[in-house]
Structure formats: structure tokens, C-alpha cells
Symmetry: D2
Subunit: 434 residues, 4 copies
């Protein structure tokens, strides 16, 4: 009962703090009012976040009639004067609110935190997408790649930074401090983006292996007992074997793309002998797609369904006969790449090439392929038996992919991808055609 | 002739670089395209800037019909979906262009530089105000006070920072390195805002004198031979005697207000004995206003012209008799505060109090008064014979002002000022009434 | 065979490198010759160190006859001229050799490393003590406390520094990174000395707990699950619960003494509420001394063996009856402080007070007591059941000691200790008298 | 009178502070006693320094009889034990005193300062050379080149560092901040040694010009209006045109030698195109030596006075006829290199080659030549009309010298110089022979 009262009072305090900060008084305040909002927000219970953000949605929305008036004037005369008036009435006061909030002593962190909380509400409260739009808009401006600092993370880095790598590595989990140390040895690199305002928070990081050649199998790269190679002359290829975001509140703020390219440039400058930049990536969703009959993609326009591809897919599916035994059953029965028939292997590789080739189509494309191909990488190689872990077998029958970053072609490739085209090597082309 | 061709080619290159950067290819480019725009811009002749910015104005403007459609939908239903659509079509592509430009290696500096150039064109090309609006919008977001670092500038600071103080000090010119050194001694302080991206550029700086009491005269504060006081126990008052912007490209981006308050907080923490924060400020424009008959301000609504004030003004003007001899002539004739009659002194002080009291009114208010009173300071004291320099006598008959920053009242004062009210001390009140 | 040849060649190369570095050519060399010595030394096998250091001993020794001549001149006339000549011929060329060695790129580290290796040879080759004397002499000069930087070590410190704490903690072993993190929380502190030349090497570190009162039991201080107290107002006592050297090559170079005092000063400045600085220390060797009959110390002059002390000791020993059952047997039989009789407890405490009171006597004193009392601390309290670990019961029947650092008395106490006097509290005095 | 008493009291306080610091109590003191010595020393009047240092000389001298005893033991048996005993009694307690003094908060600076003061007393009080010996001994150990950090000094450096360059430049005076800035532009470099303990004190600095070829004339190098060359490809030669000590208290502590070599190595790494490292140096004392008859050097052993050299000298002197008109008179009469006859020019160049060739001989050698040749440089070229300033004409008839640092030969050259040999180019050899 008492608790209920306290909660209600907290919410009302938070709303009042919002009101004050966005008022005239808030315009020139140094930071106390911004601090108030942050402190009051932090006292809210989780189930009060909806009310907090709904308040922002309802009370700080643009005035519809003023918007219409300004739009009509702008249509009549697109002059600077009308343009400016239009901008002023259309921008929601929420954006100014978030900018003022940023003046608080931990302001930037608080805004990021709020978005993290908000994102978890969107499923249930889709109208809060308006607030999310504003948050993402200011965050994209503040976390502009021009403001991010790329730093190498190594064994000299602060423990508080390193523990965040352990926590956030999403692709190949880091098994404690010894595993981490191995990944920071001279033949491994780790780079992260930092924002000047959050110096102990890696925002996104990429792990790199320096190798004599393009790898086809993941195990040696993440083996914490692997011998360290420290002869620089042996480094010919830089392999991005993992890239992870640390900050859910920055979802949708483009960073990975820029990080990979900046790392490639830096490694290129440090090791003139390294000329190849490539990933070794998983194919999440592949076997689910196969199991579902290898649908060529919702929203794929009719004219892209080339008959040849359809035929190749159907032939391959017929080889696998998943309708007689599901993939899970087959794995349970001991299926393993080493035991697969040549036909089965061929069928799986062909299907993977078709699946990845759909990356540029709407909702159904593989997200990893989308990310790298969208960045301007090329689909270079599909590797048989690249990941023999349980997870690897289940999601992609053990297949892994190399995406190739050729710095001279990434912009061109990116544009072709944006126009619906996939850039792939001859080897992959042959698979598609088989 | 050849030069003309080169110039034309440069402009066309610059425009193409804009086009590429804002295109799909530019979306994910790391920095080369942004670098291209910067480099091409720097090759333009000054008289080509108009063409460059006009290109931005014309080609990267929102689509009027799409704006109208979105506005109509929003009026019909202010849902999140319609809100987001509205924002997307209303935001001009220029803003995205500047955000991409920021990825260039010297991107932030280049954007600031472009605005500096643009501001000089606005008089002749008022329609470019639309471009300026966008520039100021992104710069305000990037130079949010939450991102600025306040650093003390002293004799340990890099020479390249210090020379910028010498160059940009706008109120009391710094006469070389020896003068500067005096202003950085233990009884003087200098603080500046820096942006993480521009670490050797002070953006705005304030000079402070630590004194035993509120000063009424400027000379001892800026005397480079003044003896240094290093007994902390003698510091009771912090005097902001000069505040200068270093970066014309950031005009209109609020910083001074936050700087003064942050400095006050820091000095308060460092010297618990300092309880008074005050300025010693000039009154530019005062004698011009007097000479023009002490008009009470264009745009001052009728009901604010209190008869008592009018009477006081007219009485004072009658004492001065400037219609019989202009201010310039009188100064040339040797006028000096020490020689003024008591009546003259009274008249000038009264007029100054009236003039400063008009600060909150529209266009005509005194800019220094507007700045400090708008920040929430109080009009504390008007000092006779505070600045006996030629400039001081000419612009304000030697008068200077103390504005008082009482940290506990600044937000309240700011709000009252925004509502058209001036907060002043009793002493100033008596002058107005006299 | 081949290996033998290689080894011999390596030794000869190392000796030649010594010769060159100490020659005229070596005087002005920048660093290549010094690098040569370091590199050649590192190629030696462990069993060749004796030869290396013996070479230094024999070839770089002062000339005896020149020494005598200079000494005779100095006795005849202690003039500056004779003084200087004396110094020149007496100083062994080894010292200049080590100073030149320090110019190598990793010179300081190499010299420290050499001493670490040398110390392990002294038992078998006592004449190498001459080389050790020179090494310690130059290292004491270089690692003068005036050159050491005290830094707080916390979770922001580089992992490479932190892992050295885990490795070198000698008193209460750190059980991995989670344990370490607990010891770096706000209610714990860790400070270390660093040398500018070895920035990632903590030389010696002390761990501190901030508590509301003087602790008598060690367990809660080193419990990695202990709740963190972060209310500064609760901190009244700073407890040095562990101090460890990281660098064996610096044995005998005074640092701990200065570290503890500097930490106390810094904590005093940071937390004015902390007025008590105290240790919670083990008593290694205590039960061995009891078992051996509580001998009052080889080399204790007769007049210090006060009859009262002897009597107290004998009475206490009689209570314990260790001649009938050894301490080990008793522990094996389940002896535990909680089960001890009041008499037994009294006897052990009395014996401990006598044992610790012997700290200032020659070879036999307890080293921990010697260290703290020699630093000027006071013997403050002996705690029953302070350390119930197996090791604690075995070495000191679970007793622990608080040594008190009263910053105002440490110099006085140090001098009294140097004159053979122990400074203790009344409580300890009563134990001695009981 | 009162002042006299105060002075006496100050001296007595200083002496007592010495006594306490060197006593047992001082052994483990953290820093208060050391601070006491520093503070009391700083209160002394200049004329009391003699008393202060005499106290150190008399009271902290080794015991002569103990020295003799230890020396006799050492002659009888040079064992480690006797060696250590010898070292202990021979080392003067002053050295330990200075080491303890170094623990004071500004200890290192204070010790350097004391030596600066002491050096000015040596002429009048030669027995204080013993104290100076000890000071130099500890300072040489502390300022070992292995501990010095070489930093580039540029326009980003703190003003407090830069003003020290202006103050201490001893060869080509820096005419204010604008002149300094020119010397820090991309085609000029400045490097200095710093000690970690004195981070804002450049100890010694060298100024470098990056040029396309070896310069023969100084003017363009130190012209503050000279155009800046920023094309790296044009840099072929690094010219050390000035080297200056900033710290008189470190006289005799070798640094310049190491600085020049480290700078050469760093420039070599940064600019692979720079292969030549050379000075452009003055010849102070040359015309004085000529005027005095070109004596071949006090202490030059007879067999080095080669008859050919004597003849060359006498012939050249005869050409100049300085006995008929002194050098000063001749300059006053308008003498200028451009007006000199070919014979005169030849005579002066020959005499300069002979004069510089005497650098390796005892007291009379040219100090600049001694420094560079002693460092292992080669006498490369003597330039006619290299320095037309008044000072240049007066001291060396306008001649300047290039000394060449060939990194591969410096150690060899150094050794030859130590053996009395000068390494010179063929061009210089021809001059000697002419």
C-alpha cells in the first residue's frame, strides 16, 4: 500500500521533472534539472516505464494543426522562411528534451539507457515507436562515426573494458579471462569504437585473427590453447571472426560497417604484407530455411525467381529428403559432415549458395549475409565442415562463409547490393549453377 | 581564361562530390567520399561559395508535395506511423549530408568552417538561411553542452591553444605573451570549452579575476604589471571580466551561458571562501542610444512605457544637452568623468539604468545585458568611471556594470527575463527612480 | 656436443660484450653496446650465470694497491682532492658498468632481472656478494622513493597490472579475477609503487580495507562475497591487511615503509573521517618459537632478559605442556580456539606478547613485527581467533596482530625501535605482565 | 641587527635539519624531514650558502682512520666481505644525505638547485669540490640517459616549456615567440631530454633544420621570416644548428651526446630519405687564438708538434700580419669576408683547420669541437663566410664548421678521439697541408 503510494509519487515526480526541463526555465539551466529527470527516472519501477514514455509521447508531440498550416505555406512557397517555420513546428519537443537531458552529468549514458528500456516495450506499445524514432534520431547524430574513436583493445586495456568484451561477445563466447587473453595476443587483434563521453564503454568490437591464409574452419581461431604466432612476416590475411554490439540502446545506429573498414585500413597500414580482409562467419537460420522448403523469399518479385535456381533448389532438396527425417532427428542419429555422401554435401552447399544469394531480398534474408554484403563485401566462399560445434551443425549443417572485403570495391558492391544484386565469387557462382 | 575554366571545373567537382556523398553509395562509405567534399570545397574561390550553398539549397530541399501529404495524414491521425513518415519527408537531405560529411577525417572542423563562410553570405542571399538553419541544427546537436569539456587554460597549456586566446579576446585585447601570462597567474583564471573532436580549439573562453571585493574599475584587472596575489585566503569574489567566442561558425550555438555557470561551480568547489560571482562589463551602444534621444525601444509595447521612466529620461537628457554639442565633440573638448558635474553624473547613471532595463525588449536591447540577464544574472551595480579608455568614454561615458550570478536564483531570473522582466538590485532601482 | 660449443660461444660473447661496454668506446655509446650485453645475457643458460657474475667480480674489481695509496693520502690530508681521488679508485667499475647497462632499451628491467638471478646464487657463491652489493647500491639509488609513483590500482587499471597482483599477493592469496575485483571495490583500496621506467610493473602493493572499526578477524576482509559498503560516512579505520613485493630483484631496497605512509597520508586527505591506520597481520613463526621453548633470542644481551618476563614465559609454557603433545599433534586432534580453556588462551596471548616484544633483537625477531615496528608502528593488539585457516592455526594458534600507525609518532617510534625499544599499548603491556 | 639574528637562526635551523635527516630518525621518514631541509635551505641568504655547504663538507665526511683500516684489509684480502666493508666506510654520508633529500616533495629539483648554487662557490672555496663530487655522483646516477625521455618540442608543447627554450638558447638567441614558432615549423625540429621527476623542465635541447643539402651559412636557418618547406621529399639532411643546456646544476652530467644520437635515430626512422646528419657550428675562441700567435697548445707533447703544421701556421700568420693591426681594429676598419683577398681567405681557413685539429689536446682545445669530435663526429667542412653577424666576425672571422655524425662510425671515432686522434675529411686535410 505504502509502496504503491511511493511508486505513484515517483512517477509524478518524474513527469514533473520532464515538464520543468522542457520549460523556459529549463532552456538555460546548467544541469540540475537534467539531473533531476535522470534521478527520477532511475527511481521508477520497470512497470512504470510505459507511463513515463507515454507521457513523452502524448505531451511532447508536435501540434497537428500548426504542422498542416506550415506544410501548406511550404507548398505555396518553398522559401527559406517557410522552410524554417516548417522545421520548427514539425520537430517534436521530445528531441529538444533529449538534447537538454544530455547536459546531465551522466546524460549521454542515461539517454542510451532509456532507449534500451524503451525498445523492450515496443512490441506491446507500438505507438511508442514515435518516441523511439526521436531517440534514435538524436543518438544517430551524437554517435555519428565521425565522433567515434577506434581503439585497439589489448591486455593493457582497463579490466572494466575487458570484462565487457567477455560479457557481450555474441558469436563465439569468451570463456573467462584466460580465453580473453589468448584473443589479445600478437596474432589476434581486437578493436572497438568508443564515444568520448563514455570512455569505459566499448560500443561495438570486432575480433581479428592474423593468419597466413584464408581459414575455412573456426576451431583453431578461438582455441584458447592455440600457439601464438608472433612472426609478423607470416601474417597475410586478416580474418574478422566475430563482431558484437555491447549497447542494446544503440540498436539501428550504424557502427559495425564503419568499424570493419577502419580496422581494415589500420591493419593495412600497420602490416603492408596483409592484403586480404575476410570474415569467417556463421549462417544462422540456414537449416530452418531448408527445413521449411527453401522458399525463395516473401516479397521476392516474380521476375527474380530464375527457373534455373528453382530447379537447382528442388534437386538439392530431393537429395536431402528432410520430409522423411527432420534435421534434428538426423543430428540426433549421429549425422556429421565427415559421414555425409558427396551428393549430400553438394546439395547442402548449393542450397547455402541460394539461401545466401537471397540476402538482398526483404525480410527473409540471412542477417549476417545482409550485414556484410550490405557493407560492400563479396560472397567469397562457403566452407564445408567449418563449424562442428553442436550449434554449428544444428543451424547450418556445419557450413561457414568467408565474406571478402576488398577495400577498392566496397562502395561499388554496396550500391549494387542496395539495387538488389549480390556480388559473389566464381566458386559460389558454380555452386548456384550446380 | 584558363583560370576561369579551372574554377568552373572545381565547382562542378564540388557539386558532384555532394551528389555522390548523399547518394546510396555514400550511405555506407567510410570517409573517402566525405573527404572528397571537404577537399573540393577547399579548392573553391570565395566567390564560388554562393553557388556551392545554393546547390545545397536547391538540390537537397524537402519535396513540398510529399510534405503536404504527410502533414494531412498527421492531422487526420497523429499516430506513431504518421509521425515517423512526417519526420522523414520533412527533414531536409542536407542534414543527412552534413552528418555524412562529419565522417571525413577533419569533418567536424570542415562543417564549422562551412557555416563560418555561409554566415557571411546571408545578407546578400537571404534564401541561404535555410541552409544555415540546417547547419546550426546539426551543430547545436553536436556541440551540445553535455559533450563539451571545460578545461582550465593556463601556462601549462599548449602554445597553439594560448595563441588563440590572444587572437580571439574580444573585450580587453591581450597585448602579447607577457600580457597573457599575467592573465594566467594564480589570481587570474581562464576556462574554455573544448569539443573532443577539436582538442586544440578553445570554442569560447572566460577570463576570471579572483579578488577580495567586487571591482568597480577595469584597469587593475587587465594591467599586465599588476602584482600577483597568491594568498588564497584573500579571494572572496570571482569576477568574469571577459568572455569571448573563438569560433564564428558556431554563432547562435549556446555555450557562454553554460560555461559561466560551470566555471562558477568549479571555483565554488575549489575556493569555498568565494561566495560572490560577478562580472565587470562594458555597455556598448549606450551613448549612441543617448545621442539618438533615448528611444524606449522599437517594439516595446505601449503599456510598458511607464510615464515615470519617460519623465526620468527626459529630465536626464535635458541635463546633458547633447543637441547643443555632440558626444564626440564633448570628448574632443576634454570631457572626463572627473570633471563632470554631480548633475551630469546623476543624469548619465539614470539613463544607463533605463537603457539596461530595456535589455529584455526586442531588437534594441544592449547585447551584453541581454546575454547576462538572459543567463539569469541580476543587474547589480552601474559604476561611474569604470573604464577610462578612449573606447570606454566614447561608448558609455566610462560607465561599467556588474552583473551578479547568484547560483541559487539564475533559473528563476532567467524565466522572469524570458517573460520580459529585468531583475535588478535596489541600488539600480533607485537610479531608475531618480 | 654442438650445444656445448654454442653455450661456450654464448658465454664468451657475453664476456666480450661486458668488456666493450666498460671500455672507452662504451663511454659515449648510445645504446647498442648496452643492448648487446642484455641480449647476450639472455642467451645464457641458467648454469652459466655463475660464470657471468664471476667475470664481473674478478675483472671489474677495484685495484687494491691504488686503494691503499689513496687511503693513505686521505689519512694524511682529508682534502677535497684526496677525497675525490679516493672515491674514484674505490668505486668498482661494476657500478659504472651497471649505469651504462641502464642505457639499453630495456636496461632498467634487465638490471633488476640480473639481480634476481644473482640472488639465487649467493648461497653457493658467497663471494658474489660483492657484485650484489654494487647492484643493490645502484638499484637503491634508482628506486629512491622520491622517484617512485604511488598509484591507486583499481578496476580501471590495465589487465597486465592486475594479473601481477594475483600472481604476487603473498599474504592472502587472490583466488582469480572475481576475488580481485572484490578487493578493488569502493570499501577496499589497493595502492602500488611504480617506477617511471617500468610503468606496467607494480613493485610493491598494499591492500587496504575501509571499515567502521578496528578488525580482529581476517575472514570478512578477504571474503570475495562480502557485501560492499559504499557509504563513505561509515569509514573510520583504514586497515592494511596485506603488503606484497612483486620484484625479487629489488630485495633490500626500502619501499614498503614509504608506501604505507604515503597511502596513509593520501587516505587521510581523501577521507577526513578516517583517523586510525592499522594493520591486521599474521605472526609467522610464533608456534615454532613456542615449541622450541620460547628462547628469548640469540644475541639478546643479558641485561634485557628481565626476570619477570622469563617467569611469565615459563608459567605460560607450563600451561601448554607442548612437551607432552606437539602442536601438530594437538591440531590433528582437533584443537581449536573455541575449545581452548581460558588458561590456555591467556598463556598463548602472553607468549605472543613476549615473542613480538623480541622483534627488535637481532636475528630471531618476527619479520612482520620487525617490519611494522621498524617503520614506527606501535604494537596495538593481539587478537584471539583472528585467523582460523589451517595455516593460521598452525603458525600462530589463530592469533593475529594489529600494528597501529599513528602518523604523528612514527618517526619517534622508529628511533626508539632502532635503539632496541618496542612501543606497545597498555593492553599488550598487561599481557606481558600477566 | 634583527635581520642578522634571523639569518643566524635560519642557518642554525638548516644545519639542524641536515643533522636530523641524516640521523637514524631520518632513515625511514617519509618526507617531512627532507622537506624541512629544503625549506630551510630556501630561507638562507646567498652569502650563507658557503656555511651550509661547508657544514656538509666537514660533518658528513668519511672517517679517515676507518678508511685506512678498510683499505689495508682489502689489500690483504680483496674478498667480498672486505670489499663491502671498504665501500661502506669510504662512501661519504653526504651521498646518503642527498638520496634522502630526494624524498622531499620537490626533492630532485632541490638537489639540482643546490648544485647550481654550489658551483658558483667553487672558485672561492675549492675544498667544496668534495661536496660537488658527491652531488655530481648522485645526479649522474639519477639522470642516467636510460631514465631520460626524449620528447619533440613543438607548438603543441606547454608554454612553460617553450619559454624555457627562449630563455636558455645559448647559440642563436631566440627573438621572442614568433621566432620560436618559426623554429618549430615542419621543416624545423626541436627535441629535448626530460626527467620523469621534472616534467616541465627541458634539461637540454637541440634544434634541427631539415634541408635538401648541407648548409654552409647560418642566416637562412635562423631567419624567422624564412619560408616554410613542408614537402617531406625535399628533406635530405638534418642539421643540428644549436644545442643548449637549460640546467646549470647538471653541468658535467653527460646528456648532449646521447641526445644528438637519439635524435638522429628518430629522424632516420621518420624520414628514410634523410641520410646525412651534420652540424653547422661556430668556432668560439678562434681569432683570440690567432691573435695570441696560434700557440699549438699547452700540454701538447713535443712529438705531436709536426714541423709541417708549424710551418703552415707561421706562413698563414705572416699573411695576416695581426701584429701591425689587431683584429678588432681591422673589423672596425670594415674588414669583411667579401673584401678579403684570396690569400687571406686561404690563411684563415688553414689556421682554422689547425686550431680545430688541436681539439683533442688538453685544456686549450675549442670546446665546440671537443664536444662534437668527442661524441664521435668527424670534422667535415670549414665554411667561409658562414656567419656574418658581428659576433661571428669577431670570434671566427665569419667561419663556421660542419661536424658530420655518421651513425656507423661514431663509436670508432670516439675511441680514436679519446686516444688523441682527430677524424677529419679530405677537404679539411688539404687545408692543414696547405
Amino acid at each position: 500500500m505504502l509502496e504503491k503510494l511511493t511508486k505513484a509519487r515517483n512517477l509524478s515526480k518524474a513527469n514533473n521533472a520532464i515538464k520543468r526541463l522542457i520549460s523556459e526555465r529549463g532552456e538555460s539551466n546548467a544541469l540540475s534539472m537534467a539531473d533531476d529527470v535522470v534521478n527520477n527516472y532511475r527511481k521508477l519501477a520497470k512497470d512504470q516505464y510505459v507511463s513515463f514514455f507515454t507521457y513523452l509521447f502524448e505531451k511532447l508531440h508536435p501540434q497537428a494543426d500548426a504542422v498542416l498550416k506550415a506544410a501548406q505555406d511550404f507548398v505555396a512557397d518553398s522559401s527559406a522562411r517557410n522552410y524554417i517555420q516548417l522545421q520548427k513546428v514539425v520537430e517534436s519537443p521530445r528531441q529538444e528534451f533529449f538534447r537538454r537531458l544530455n547536459r546531465a552529468s551522466q546524460g549521454t549514458a542515461a539517454v542510451v539507457e532509456m532507449r534500451r528500456d524503451l525498445l523492450q516495450l515496443l512490441d506491446k506499445k507500438p505507438e511508442l515507436a514515435a518516441v523511439d524514432f526521436d531517440l534514435r534520431h538524436v543518438l544517430s547524430s551524437w554517435f555519428n562515426p565521425g565522433f567515434l574513436k577506434m581503439h585497439r583493445v589489448d591486455w593493457k586495456s582497463p579490466a572494466e573494458v575487458l570484462e565487457k568484451l567477455i560479457k557481450h561477445e555474441a558469436v563465439h563466447a569468451i570463456d573467462g579471462w584466460d580465453d580473453l587473453r589468448r584473443r589479445l595476443q600478437p596474432d589476434r587483434r581486437c578493436f572497438a569504437f568508443f564515444h568520448p563521453q563514455l570512455p569505459s564503454e566499448p560500443l561495438i568490437f570486432v575480433e581479428v585473427a592474423l593468419l597466413p591464409e584464408i581459414p575455412t574452419v573456426i576451431t583453431p581461431l578461438v582455441d584458447k590453447k592455440a600457439e601464438v604466432v608472433d612472426q609478423v612476416s607470416q601474417f597475410k590475411v586478416a580474418v574478422f571472426y566475430s563482431i558484437s554490439n555491447c549497447e542494446p540502446g544503440l540498436r539501428g545506429v550504424s557502427m559495425g560497417n564503419f568499424l570493419i573498414k577502419r580496422v581494415a585500413e589500420q591493419l593495412h597500414a600497420e602490416f603492408p604484407g596483409i592484403k586480404t580482409f575476410v570474415t569467417l562467419s556463421p549462417i544462422p537460420g540456414f537449416m530452418d530455411w531448408v527445413a521449411a522448403g527453401g522458399n525463395l523469399g516473401a516479397g521476392v518479385p516474380a521476375d527474380r525467381l530464375k527457373p534455373a535456381l528453382k530447379l537447382a533448389r528442388d534437386t538439392a532438396l530431393a537429395v536431402l529428403k528432410l520430409e522423411s527425417q527432420s534435421w534434428t532427428e538426423r543430428l540426433a542419429g549421429g549425422w556429421h559432415p565427415d559421414l555425409a555422401s558427396e551428393k549430400e554435401k553438394e546439395a547442402l552447399l548449393t542450397l547455402a549458395s541460394i539461401y545466401l544469394g537471397l540476402a538482398s531480398t526483404g525480410r527473409d534474408g540471412n542477417p549476417v549475409a545482409k550485414f556484410h554484403l550490405g557493407n560492400g563485401a563479396k560472397l567469397h566462399l562457403i566452407n564445408w565442415a567449418g563449424d562442428l560445434s553442436r550449434k554449428g551443425l544444428r543451424q547450418s549443417a556445419g557450413l561457414m562463409v568467408n565474406y571478402l572485403y576488398d577495400l577498392g570495391s566496397v562502395e561499388d558492391n554496396h550500391e549494387r547490393f542496395a539495387n538488389g544484386e549480390i556480388v559473389y565469387s566464381r566458386a559460389v557462382g558454380r555452386l548456384m549453377a550446380s
